[in-house]
Symmetry: C2
Subunit: 448 residues, 2 copies
Amino acid sequence: MGRTIAVIGGGAAGASAAARARRLDPQARVVLFERGPMITHAPCGIPYAVAGIVKGHEYLQTYTPEEFSRDRNIEVYTNSEVTQIDVGSRTLTALVQGSARRFSWDRLVIATGAKPFIPPVNGVDLKGILTVRLPPDTPQLKEELSVAKTVAIVGSGYIGVEMAEAMLHLGKKVLIFEAFDRPLPQMLDNDVARIVAEEMTLKGADLHLNEKVVEFRGKDHVEYVVTERGEYKVDKVVLAVGVRPDTTLARDIGVRLGETGAIYVDEYMETSVPDIFAAGDAAETVHRVTGMRVWVPLAPPANKMGQVAGANAVKARSIRFPGVTGTSITKFFDLYIAKTGLNENEANRLGVKTRAALIRARSTAGYYPGGSPVYVKMIVDSDERVIGVQAVGHDKAVAGYIDAAAVLVERRATIEDVFFSDLSYMPATAPVWHPLIVAARVLSQGRF
Amino acid sequence: MGRTIAVIGGGAAGASAAARARRLDPQARVVLFERGPMITHAPCGIPYAVAGIVKGHEYLQTYTPEEFSRDRNIEVYTNSEVTQIDVGSRTLTALVQGSARRFSWDRLVIATGAKPFIPPVNGVDLKGILTVRLPPDTPQLKEELSVAKTVAIVGSGYIGVEMAEAMLHLGKKVLIFEAFDRPLPQMLDNDVARIVAEEMTLKGADLHLNEKVVEFRGKDHVEYVVTERGEYKVDKVVLAVGVRPDTTLARDIGVRLGETGAIYVDEYMETSVPDIFAAGDAAETVHRVTGMRVWVPLAPPANKMGQVAGANAVKARSIRFPGVTGTSITKFFDLYIAKTGLNENEANRLGVKTRAALIRARSTAGYYPGGSPVYVKMIVDSDERVIGVQAVGHDKAVAGYIDAAAVLVERRATIEDVFFSDLSYMPATAPVWHPLIVAARVLSQGRF
């Protein structure tokens, strides 16, 4: 028997790391620990399972633990929490379905993920205040929310926006409280966020911007959300004010945390402790535009970081993770909302001098039926390189715009490069001047 | 009064050139000649106007001649054919609505477009054999086809595929004759074209591959399509075996034609004759992957070539057209079909050693409703640079895949670059491993 690769966490990053290690080292023993009952799970699907759009939370996984274990020859321990790691002896202790067991390891991958941030306000521990974390929590979430007539969503990041859709879909009265002046405040600039805010109001959400929640009130169960401006009677609360990396285990053994609060890793996903790797939502990475360290807890980078960690765990420094471009996408009903690179707020905070254009276009040729307005905001630096794009519209085409934009940003394209990109056109799929090209033209200030 | 910029042809390239010249030189006289009644027209919409999906051919234009003339201060002559150009005296003669008039010019832009290729087979001049060229032809096309029960489409390029959809949409019996072994033979490789062929059959088209039409028979009006293998009773024929650049005027004055048969231009859109430019479907350009001269008669490059020609006509050599990447997209009902870069046939004809992967993925997360299978074929050269992508699927997402792929190809991305591209993901818009990334992974042969 060869080396033992132990992976803590069975989500996107952990499962990718385990699968990769197995593939590259058929002799190794690969052991995967997951606190919950599911692995390769998809938390991104929870709002749709709560809404009933996805039939059950059991669909929110790519493989069952049994399939994953059998097809890949990986020891999978579900409902198994790793409680202690010993770096000196290269062992760990896990509560495997209740009983403590010791495992040795040669390489360790920490993929413990993220957990909801619980703001320190009075009453936050009342019953009826819910968070969205992992697919197995769905049935309880669904049951609790099913009896509610009025639901408050605190926070309007992705999870807040998606849970607001789910609640409206189920016919509930929805109040959204956002401390910033716009929804999706980390993702969008004001001008773009305004389009989202209008849509939220139009679909019946009671959107409270610039309104910070200061307290929850109720006897045993939440009854009121109290803000700086008023108090609101509610039946349930969904707390969606962000997530934090779950770094408890890492911290316990002296693994260095980075400036973002997540585990510091280099481009090989190595932590500060030899032979210990980290990947996914527990780890930080670098931003490909700024070169700065960032924490981006999203599934696609988690999968790739997991692959890189798993590969380097069995074949040292064989592959590098180049970082993230800051791409993300969400939707509110059929309004698709996407971003890549930096927004103006982010750029300006870093002191990057920017110019931006926000254009309105159509998702199809003007004469073709079924098209709808789409909005693209393009941001360039002083070299006219595209450093960020935001796109919003009632058309899935928005996802394609942002994917093309992500590649343009990653590959240091200028607005002239964008203008001459040979993007596709036919009446049913785009206007003849693609919205990205229109934005680049506007930014050229008449040069093309 | 300043210089005179004369533009021949009011389609995408000509109108772009005229508008650009006007914008960059407010003093110039800008004169635009168009043979037909419409300018800034969109021939790509004709099949949808014939099908009745677009309400009338009058919608297939961005501006009326009056608007374009008034808003831009451009002299627009419609129904006006330029019959003769005199290079020595820098004049031209146009039949302006029937009467010959002479105009002088300082810079000339030839944007005479393309015309359907008429194959030299017996009976091709019979009545009832129709071609698809410009929006004003639509009413007659529509009327002729309205009485037909059985329509033969000869050729299965974009126009053939789109007219087949239109005819099936109108409830007609449709026979398609294609001399090659696959539909869209210039665009697609066999393995991808097979998916399109299956769909055409499924939707009721009678698809005859490897079957060359050798004759049309009938007294006065076509009655039979005769092929190498049989004869078929038909009511009408749509001839869609390709187009050719309309170079008559250019040739008359000794403008050099390129190896593709279209007008030779350099990156500034200058022809071989000083102060004469060409743009759009009448001109050839270079392929950004191969550097070779190609002729790609499509609207997006035509618009950009027109812009470049118009700009350089008033401000010599101020902007370059970098060429095309070979991006194109069409659809057959809701099957979207797109390509960028080289296909394997093209690459192999050029002696480029390739590897390719054809993968099947889904347009959404597996558990999210409404997703459908999508197919992506990725082709790399021996340096593992992506030189081409083809994508097919019952989802408009295909357009987004090809736009991202076009940028990847243009910007010389390797499969490792593709794998690490930060493409967007949410359950409703993509699988967590984006289809382009899956294709890159397969091509890595286990390396990532």
